[in-house]
Symmetry: D3
Subunit: 341 residues, 6 copies
């Protein structure tokens, strides 16, 4: 039987039952009872890109074993997978066994394809940052990647809506940088150094809202994120890196043009304004072309990713029509097929 | 004394009085009286990119001559120009004389720089359209340029907000196509043919809302625009071209993939959804990635142009800070200066 | 046991269990399992005005037969019907059998009372259209009824909210025309010909959003409806009829007053503006008294029908008080009883 | 020279200067100075349907006399009237004289045409009320007309938007009753007695917000209106009439069906809910069909009157297009001309 | 086994199963069937501050007895209580028995702690009212407490959001008065008499929306509340008390300053404006400092109570973080612990 | 002739012309021309609490002298002051002279009454801060007052709406602290130390948005304020003070309860959430009782101050009724007079 990821199983199950093996971390094991007072155990399971729930009934041979699992456990689940219209992905006729240390290590690394893609994206970000001309912005970006790069590579771009997977923020950031680099020549007045640095830092506060641990796939709630919000955390992070670097480079930066304090304020502005409007949580509205461009580049990539994901997860309503997936504004319709001679 | 455009004068007058000559069309000549019962004549004047108001007092030597002007008249206005904080651009110590036929023809052609830029943009649009692979979309775009190209090149992209000048729609359309071509490789699933055709047609209804006559600079109100709105006019225009072409090419288009009716519907969708949300007048929300991409590309270019224009026309509040220019969301701040070694 | 419609059963079941027979089309037969892994089959059932869901457990004698049903099947369901507070109408102790061809034909015709009412409404529309004085509007309306009358008579006025049944659009349209004819003498300036034609066409785009097939009761989703929305489809339909008729009547229509193009634009305006405000999907706001009147007549009839339907379907909260049924703005209260001497 | 009303002058002045006489009340005489320190006197003038401002310069022969005027003065103003695009209607080369007692009495009665129309409307209301079958609602309506009829006939329907003239509320109420009587047969379930009573009382609180004095045309601000709003005042007025009548008719009303308390509550509901939604100031949303019908009938008549008024007062933007007049949602377009053979 | 209240059980059950006895009123006993056609009986149970649902399966020994219960029954429920994440509080291994008359009387009195607290609050209100200096406002408040005090003490402050228990309105009112008395010295211009009377009456219409019967804990829906809303009911109640008192005190109140009618209008204003904005159902916005102060004092106390309640009932998301409880605007975070040396 | 402040003059002028002397700083002297081409000079004048505009015509004896003034000049203006309905406060028959150094110093100190009030408020803040029990919050508050106290005392609470005068922030902060101290005993769970510190810092970002210079009364626009907004500036300021103090007190703070990082986060939360909702610019919504209390205390004091100011500056509409002063929600009505025996 094939070893598949949860996402691969979910896609296949759109067309009927799938027999497969899957490697997952146990997120939680909660004892429950049905309304009819039948006890069962609810397992939360996760891999690098997806999650599912497994209900273990008290008459299942693995009931006792499963009830004892914790988030330190990594298991192989083998069975027949179905897509239930109300409850989502479900397993039947299943068995479990613990992963070997090698399997667990492989699982934590994530699927090869994802790993390769995120490696490419991560390298691209590093190269792009290296090419920033303004020494202050370049130093700041590099310091961030040095100090926080690991955590950055474990962070999702959002809790639900888009790129909601370990490393999703790296993918989103790299794609935004690519757009910026493509568009910049069309608007020669844009300060590209600033725009690229703004892209790198715009969601860096999410390292405390949507990061995942080194040895697991659980995105927990964080009091710092709740009390400050990722925009304010991002501002604080930049300020803290900036303070250190400007102390170290006091002499070198003193007479640069534009003045360093201007650079700092404009970069903070790009972070603070990137949600575009107060009702979406921006403490300030975009007041420079760079801030406005960043806002639209962010939205463009996020929405296109939502379409890509929606086509595989949204409930079909009719041929080529899918149910709305918020925050998209309406139902989804399949793209027009490309003309091919 | 220098011959300048109204926009050039407006920019110079930000730094104090300007002595200059300007060539303009008379839009209107309205007899008025002040509250103190002093009669005067109010001239509306326009050139290719801008407009101003000239008040002619009854004791001015040209009062009688000016009172007789109509929108058939083209004049040179020579004088000292000031920026009045409440009333905008004003002329003092001025004289007028009719333009020669050659001067009038030159004026109607617009400034050389603008002409060159719009020529480049117009040619770029034609080449881009030629490279569309889907024969139906290509034929439709070319038919539009053939049949309506002249009117297209005389149309503004908006009444006020951005590219509000003769030919502004060509500039906006070309720039959107450039963005689309740059971005497309980053999103291989996008149907670029459809996206480009959607860009060409997205505002084509404005040929009846914001077009200017061949021999003048006046953008009037149009009953068709009022009763239908530019989105519905655009849908109708595409349908009318499509009907003709699909009759002529019935045989050739019969078995193409994707089917022609699909192509038509998706193109209409891009037009109908390009404002993004119902509250901005879209009868349908974006339901495909191409429609979503078009919406953001449209906004991105429009907003960046609003910044560019705002920096020269908005009221300064302090060094590098300008008063809000709607529909931008707040005050404007000057871009961070680029680092230059 | 009585043969009843689904709506009749639903109403009776508000007062307790009902034993009855009902004739329905099978919309769908979906194999499912409960959370406890018990397989069952879910049948979607529909008649002319209503729909219900029947769960067939695997130990039911008809389980196998029911699992094989398709939307080509028409059945009689006999049993005891209950109103479940969470799951709605449910059947117990039931049996099924296929309908005879005569029974199926009778079912497809709909209940006699509904048929008679819709026949009256349909005739009234035809007569009203005949009495339109403007030859262009009259010809257009008649052409629509000739060409699309059958589909029109199979279309619902909405998917959920009001008149959501086959022929519901005919009922809604006729009632709106009656209101218009009653109100018109009170506002002598209104162009009644235009208002009546606008009423006929205002929702004609729904022939592609909410129509039902000739031999069934299923309202499916339609890509054209999704991509264009019913307002734009309606504009296109009128344009297409208009083009044909104005070619055929070119001579006769040439010198009529008002000019034919004015007539066309004002009619399109009534369609485009009938939702009243952009946030409800109108690409243009009402700019003439006829457009404004149409908007309010549409709402008045729709809301009163929502009350009528709500009184029989909404969940009672207390005597004479019912739970909110969207889009009504709050709970429903029973009308004040009429005084009767 | 013709004696005209202010409205007649305003309409004529759309086509150029008008020489005329007009009879008006002085609302106020305020001493002012121009920015250039020239003193002048500003007279507020009003007749039955309209108002204007007259500036009296210090070198005008009537300056001293005009400065002494109060709201006890009624004058004839003779002169040449112009429409100033910014300041509205203006008079030049004018003279004034006091009205004779006969002229003043005639002015206070209002123009004959308006008087006749409002007499018709007032009589129609009385007859309609007489025909209400429920004895409680009929008695209540008649008590209102007896006790408050004079004030009712002096009240405007609004401060600005529609029927903003003495007696405007009578015109609006009568027209709403006519609509209700026409529509009622189409919705047999409607309680027409309740609907008619609701129409009579829905704006009765405006007798304290928008009433005019017996001997003048000034609509002042009222502390009661400010502190309570016209809906709450209306509820209080109905309650106060009801209390008196139900005491007097305790015996006769005791056993009527429906119970009197139900009648009272439903009538109060129609008043409280007639603005339709909380954001427009309704303390409760419409929860019965009668309340919903009243809401739409109110809006329908108000909006159609706004169009009728707007066509004569709104600023023309082009042939058949007029500038927006709030609260209408967009520009106004002239109605389609009626077909006339 | 301990006798606990429902709220005490709910709190304890956050940390695991609780064995306890609880005394409750039966609100309703509804026969139901599961989807699998198994009959059961659903009991609604309530005590002074809380409510729960008990499902009685047909194989439970008490099934028959429970099915016969009505809202006249008061029972002791003994068992093991669990917090089910989806269905809330549940009982297992339970037994029931009827309460003795003494137990029932004790239950109806509510828990001693609550009773003591509400007694304190009620006394505080009476004392505060006694100290009002304006004889009209003092008389009005005292008349209200005399005539409606019992019902007042049985009324909740809201159906769900805050103080949603018998007597909750007394607690909320007393706390608002305390705030007003504390704040008043800081704003010497405030009319404290008016503010205190406004606080007493601001929600008095809830005596008909959210009151509970003398011998039970059920808050039903009321037609008067639906048709009028609590604000209008409150206005009517004050008017009716005022009428009686001002008749009785006609002589004494005649020449007081400020005039009695001013006092009445300002008090009504405080009631009408206390929701602050039309979209929250206020027929008038706050136009005096007292109305504005009342609005904020009301909100301040309501929101702080929502936090206090939310900390014990909201679903925990992580340590010290709780899920959003509407109408609070976001998740809840535990207060910062107080510093304690 | 009396020496008055601008505010005193403005109040007196509501009742007619006032002859007075006033000491002011020149904010600006701008050469202008009227529409009739008459040159004049516009002087912006300001004192501690108010500002006015003086137009100096070219035929005024002081024209030349005034045209040479800069913001380094402080003058006495003597004349007759009028309230112009359109242009506000105006001076006639006026003369000017420079202030002596003593007069200038006195002016810069502000009126004695204001100085005394702000001294009281400033002292109260210092004492309140001293009484904070948590050593970290106390140290932070004291460090702020030490380091930024002077600037704090020169800052307005807002640009326009309330306390828009030098030192207004001190007044607003002190009053909020007083409210907090009064209310705290009523809500024993509140962390008062945190709430007081939150009040001190909630608007501290305004030291860069609304501060005034030491030697003048001009509130200019600041790029930092534009790019970051006062909330983010406030967060940064607290962080910067915190870093310094926590380095200095590393040992002493190490084992305190609650942990210092919790204290820091909760304080930042109070600043970030004090606008209450995202649409008013808060990057995070209030998630603790302290944050919610701060939000309402802030609003309560601000609104009551708006009423106090509005009564003296708003345009009267009728006796005791004033025109709306944004952001108050409607017209203002005079408070009910207090009862006085």
């Amino acid at each position: 039987m094939n070893l598949m990821t949860l996402t691969e199983i979910r896609r296949s199950a759109q067309n009927g039952a799938v027999s497969a093996r899957v490697h997952v971390q146990v997120e939680s094991a909660t004892p429950k009872v049905t309304r009819e007072q039948q006890p069962y155990c609810e397992l939360g399971l996760a891999d690098a890109c997806d999650r599912m729930t497994l209900r273990v009934w008290s008459d299942h041979p693995a009931y006792k074993a499963c009830s004892a699992l914790t988030d330190q456990n990594f298991i192989e689940l083998t069975g027949e997978f179905h897509q239930h219209s109300q409850y989502g992905l479900e397993a039947r006729k299943w068995t479990v066994r613990p992963l070997t240390p090698e399997e667990k290590a492989a699982l934590l690394e994530g699927p090869a394809e994802l790993r390769a893609r995120q490696k490419t994206d991560s390298d691209f970000i590093a190269q792009t940052v290296d090419a920033i001309m303004d020494p202050r912005l370049r130093a700041l970006c590099k310091a961030f990647l040095n100090e926080w790069g690991d955590r950055f590579r474990r962070t999702a771009a959002a809790r639900n809506y888009h790129h909601a997977r370990r490393g999703g923020l790296v993918e989103h950031t790299a794609q935004m940088m690519r757009i910026a680099l493509e568009i910049a020549p069309l608007y020669p007045a844009l300060n590209v150094d600033l725009l690229l640095a703004g892209i790198l830092f715009h969601d860096c506060g999410k390292l405390w809202e949507n990061s995942l641990p080194e040895a697991g796939f659980t995105m927990s709630y964080d009091e710092r994120g709740e009390l400050m919000g990722h925009i304010s955390i991002g501002l604080e992070l930049v300020n803290s890196l900036w303070r250190k670097l400007s102390a170290e480079n006091a002499e070198a930066w003193r007479n640069l043009v534009p003045p360093s304090e201007d650079v700092r304020l404009h970069l903070l502005h790009l972070i603070g304004a990137h949600h575009g409007e107060p009702q979406f949580g921006s403490p300030v509205s975009p007041k420079t072309p760079e801030a406005m461009a960043l806002h639209y580049i962010d939205n463009l990539d996020a929405r296109l990713e939502m379409f890509a994901a929606g086509y595989t997860t949204a409930k079909p309503l009719a041929a080529r029509i899918f149910d709305r997936v918020r925050p998209l504004p309406g139902n989804l319709v399949k793209s027009l097929e490309k003309f091919s001679g």
